[in-house]
């Protein structure tokens, strides 16, 4: 099997970083997964909550807002900006998390 080759620009870096072990991996994955799952829960509660609202609160969801029913307005128009907001928050936090993890691995304690 053809093994992938490491990027040539930093050939010696791994051996210089004793922190890159199973413990560091566990820390990385735990922090990143916590962030991803939090955002996913927020998204899924909106996505899976809307059918439930339609099911249990049909009169409220059929109420007119302009010409739209409330349910149509949420799903057909407002849902997109809500998801963009979640993704924007995720990316900002994810970048900050990666910067902190890199600093930690390089021994740059705050």
């Amino acid at each position: 099997m053809q093994q992938p080759v490491l990027a040539p620009e930093r050939p010696a870096l791994r051996s210089e970083l004793p922190a890159l072990d199973a413990d560091f991996l566990a820390l990385l994955m735990r922090r990143q997964l916590t962030l991803s799952v939090s955002c996913a829960v927020c998204f899924m509660s909106l996505l899976l909550g809307l059918p439930l609202a339609n099911y249990f609160l049909p009169e409220l969801m059929a109420r007119r807002v302009g010409g739209f029913t409330l349910s149509w307005l949420i799903l057909g128009v407002l849902f997109f900006p809500l998801v963009w907001t979640i993704s924007f928050v995720f990316i900002r936090r994810s970048m900050a998390l990666e910067a902190a993890e890199a600093a930690y691995a390089k021994g740059e304690r705050p």
Binding site: F24, L48, Y55, W72
Partner: protein, 565 residues
């Protein structure tokens, strides 16, 4: 009779696509250019290209037609098509890019050190790709038949297939990146400008939606033609749990008040299929390898969500306006029915502003062309990559030179293009949404669980991954095929479905059980075979998750791989 405006705009789209293909062909020189666009595509270009590739004929024409036909329930399609990218962003795009493979089978083999698993992954890339290609071909055939009345269906398929295959063979991934980015903006223009003109003449989105009264008299704020018998009633159309999701329960003779639980189940299964399927489509996933790094892959995903989210606001508006202004479309089916509302609606403007209606319809036709051409391009690159890189370059000729791999790419593109055209010619009788649904359901039950579990669980083994991917993907395919063949009359199950509406829903929309089945099989079999977890799993997972600045990133660089062999 051929409308000269529609013909002109469509020809311009094809001409620009071909010209851009030739222009970019000169810039694509290395294997890396062809497979992953030199890994140098900026966030803006890549987001436009991914969006251009993703917005297929089903999105451009099908969503509007479905909203017109089924009402509220069809809104889940555009919303989940767009929001599925959030799952990609949260769980898959960054780690996948960091792993540095060329294709998904590269990832499968690299993650599990299993050449056998590469072969399984290649089969799935080709299977999902061909399933997704067929509806694009159907779109091409029907759109050309609309432009040239009397033109046989197969001629449109062959023409579009040949043009796109030429483009891909000439420029590879780097070439189609520019073309697809252009095609996103062409589609955005083509869906929005005609609609704004139609709304300025005939009334707004909310005005026409407001005419679908749940109770009482219809407000006479804009003109509305009488609905034919085949059109759903206002209340059923505008409310959740309408004709799309209650079909099985209604066929079983269940009274309206008892249908809602079935409808809720159908809705959830549809949501899971579309969201997880989006995050598991190989031709979309392969695009993330063209980003310079994982951070760029994440930013690209966010911009894709914005670009396609803005786009998906428009097709439902066509559906809503079409219900008021073109109710005759309810009486026909397939390409002659509600599916062509995007192409037909702008023509109405001719009544008030002569010629402008034809020009706007021409613009919409150009958008439809851009839709099936760009999606087919992306699928072709993805499948060609699987054949040229995974089958030829990795399985048959691992020591091949870069020049040989480039030649293999071009030969594979022509081969896959020819097969796609041959299959496309056969599917005239099939429904576009049926074929798209098959591809999504299989992707949701195979690639999505594979990627999600491989990225986030260290304990996954090759056997677990293969069992889950095959178990989920094949059972989803089998159940969808069962319902479809039964609907086409090949299997006599109509009586069975009317007495078992729950089974009918679970077979027609299998994601709600197939995705958990795939994940469960992966977890269960991996636990039983835990001794097979790759020895260097910590290193592999660090490559997937550690920030790029630590220098762990891998690259399947053709030159280095050949040198190292």
């Amino acid at each position: 009779m051929i409308d000269p405006w529609i013909l002109s705009f469509s020809l311009v789209t094809v001409a620009v696509t071909v010209a851009m293909g030739f222009w970019t062909a000169g810039k694509s020189k290395t294997a890396s250019d062809f497979f992953v666009a030199g890994r140098s595509v900026s966030v803006g270009w890549n987001a436009s290209a991914i969006s251009g590739e993703y917005l297929s004929a089903a999105s451009f024409m099908g969503v509007a037609g479905m909203v017109m036909k089924f009402g509220y329930d069809a809104l889940w399609y555009p919303v989940c098509y767009a929001c599925g990218y959030l799952f990609l962003l949260l769980f898959i795009s960054g780690p996948l890019r960091r792993f540095g493979a060329y294709t998904i089978p590269d990832f499968a083999e690299g993650r599990y050190d299993s050449p056998l698993f590469r072969k399984i992954a290649v089969i799935f890339v080709l299977a999902i790709g061909f399933l997704y290609t067929m509806p694009q071909m159907k779109g091409a055939g029907t759109a050309l038949a609309y432009i040239f009345p009397g033109l046989p269906y197969w001629a449109g398929v062959v023409l579009v297939g040949a043009v796109v295959t030429l483009n891909v063979a000439l420029g590879g991934m780097k070439g189609i990146t520019v073309v697809q980015a252009f095609q996103y903006w062409a589609k955005m223009f083509a869906i929005s400008v005609p609609l704004f003109v139609v709304m300025s003449v005939y009334g707004s989105y909310s005005t026409h939606l407001g005419m679908n009264a749940a109770e009482g008299p219809v407000p006479a704020v804009a003109e509305r033609l009488p609905l034919p018998e085949k059109a759903p009633e206002d209340l059923a159309w505008i409310s959740p749990f309408g004709p799309l999701t209650t079909k099985a329960a209604a066929a079983a003779g269940i009274p309206p008040e008892g249908r809602r639980p079935y409808s809720l189940l159908y809705t959830y299964s549809l949501i899971i299929a579309l969201v997880c399927g989006t995050a598991g489509l190989p031709h979309i996933l392969v695009r993330f390898y063209t980003n310079p790094d994982g951070a760029a892959a994440k930013r690209t995903t966010m911009w894709v969500m914005i670009l396609i989210g803005v786009f998906y606001v428009f097709p439902p508006v066509f559906g809503v306006l079409g219900r008021s202004l073109l109710p005759d479309l309810y009486s026909a089916t397939g390409a002659k029915g509600t599916d062509k509302v995007v192409l037909e609606l702008p023509r109405l403007v001719n009544e008030r502003l002569p010629v402008w209606g034809s020009i706007l319809s021409g613009v919409a036709c150009a958008g439809a062309f851009a839709a099936f051409m760009s999606t087919f391009s992306g699928l072709l690159v993805s499948m060609t990559g699987a054949l040229a890189h995974d089958v030829y370059g990795r399985i048959f000729r691992p020591a091949s030179s870069q020049a040989e791999r480039l030649k293999a790419f071009k030969v594979s593109a022509v081969l896959i293009g020819a097969v796609a055209v041959a299959l496309g010619v056969q599917v005239e009788a099939f429904d576009i949404n049926f074929m798209v649904g098959q591809a999504f359901a299989i992707a949701a039950a195979s690639y999505f669980p594979l990627l999600f579990m491989s990225v986030w669980w260290r304990g996954m083994t090759t056997k677990g991954a293969a069992a889950g991917m095959l178990g989920g993907g094949l059972t989803a395919l089998a159940s969808i095929t069962l319902t479809s063949f039964s609907d086409l009359g090949y299997i006599p199950l109509a009586g069975f479905w009317t007495t078992h509406p729950l089974l009918r829903i679970l077979c027609e929309q299998p994601a709600i059980w197939a995705v958990p089945l795939a994940i469960g099989l992966m977890a269960g079999v991996s636990l039983l075979t835990r001794a097979d977890v790759p020895a260097d799993i910590v290193k592999k997972m660090l490559v997937l998750h550690a920030p790029e600045s630590l220098g762990l990133r891998q690259e399947y660089d053709a030159e280095h791989a050949v040198a190292a062999h």
